[in-house]
Amino acid sequence: MYWEDVRIGTEIPSLEKYPTKEMLLRYASVTGDLYRIHYDEEYAKSIGLPGVIVQGGLKNAFLAQLITDWIQGSGRLRKLTCAHRDMDFPNSTLICKGFVSRRYRENGLSLVDCTIWIENDEGYKTTPGSAIVNLDSRPKNIQS
């Protein structure tokens, strides 16, 4: 994929993730974030949550994967943002989606802005975000 192949509105192939309670525990372990709302059901309920919730950092990693799976070796992620607007829960399907919202050249780089988000299994966008990706430009001797 080259920058020239991408258009405004180009959809990023969606990525389906299914965070289990085990995954939350593993993420807590590798990041050292041992806040109990992510693995202790009783504690989470005691502070008013419906149950344990998926770490924001884990959802952040899912959105990063959405982009890196899409670009593979064709470019580099320059910027990634996400806002955790609502909670997500383990043992439910989360779908990461996105599309290209702008394509431009700046400071010699071939860039695209992407609108990205995570949807829960009811289609609600819990985690909106954005990305800026530097894509390779097609060499002049290679035709589309």
Binding site: A61, T68, H84
Partner: protein, 151 residues
């Protein structure tokens, strides 16, 4: 008065802009693989050195949010951890250089800003902390602005 109200304005004001002592980590191949296993990302660029080399990199690369595993200051000493409950509000990452296995990454963090808001959780404080990651070549590889909410 909630536990949270006991965080005085002066404690917060004293903390803003104060850089933590730098901490340097060596990025290990197994650390990268453990992280990608944990998040379910099995892209070979995080595991196959030969693939990384074909893409012009000297070693396997770390995924974008791997840097969350490299802690800055001792977080339990930060004022946002003195509140009652803490939620992740979101992140902004800027990436400048690839992070490779074998890199020495130095982390420095500082509290940028604190805002008070009232929302569905009642009185909330919104804390933004910046983490700056620098490699062994003195190049800043990434900056992470992490927003957290206490209530």
């Amino acid at each position: 008065m909630s536990e949270f109200d006991s965080i005085s304005d002066s404690v917060i004001k004293r903390s803003i802009g104060v850089e933590s002592a730098p901490i340097t980590y060596v990025v290990g191949t197994s650390d990268i693989i453990d992280f990608t296993d944990a998040v379910g990302d099995f892209n070979e660029i995080y595991r196959e050195r030969n693939l990384a080399k074909r893409r012009g990199l000297n070693n396997i690369v770390a995924p974008p949010t791997f840097l969350r595993t490299l802690k800055g200051s001792r977080s339990e000493n930060n004022p946002e951890h003195l509140g009652a409950h803490l939620l992740d509000g979101g992140s902004e990452w800027n990436y400048f250089e690839p992070i490779l296995a074998g890199d020495n990454i130095t982390v420095v963090d500082k509290l940028l800003d604190v805002l008070e808001k009232t929302g569905k959780l009642g009185k909330m404080l919104i804390w933004t902390r910046e983490f700056k990651y620098t490699n062994q070549h003195s190049k800043v590889v990434a900056i992470h602005k992490w927003t957290r909410i206490t209530y």
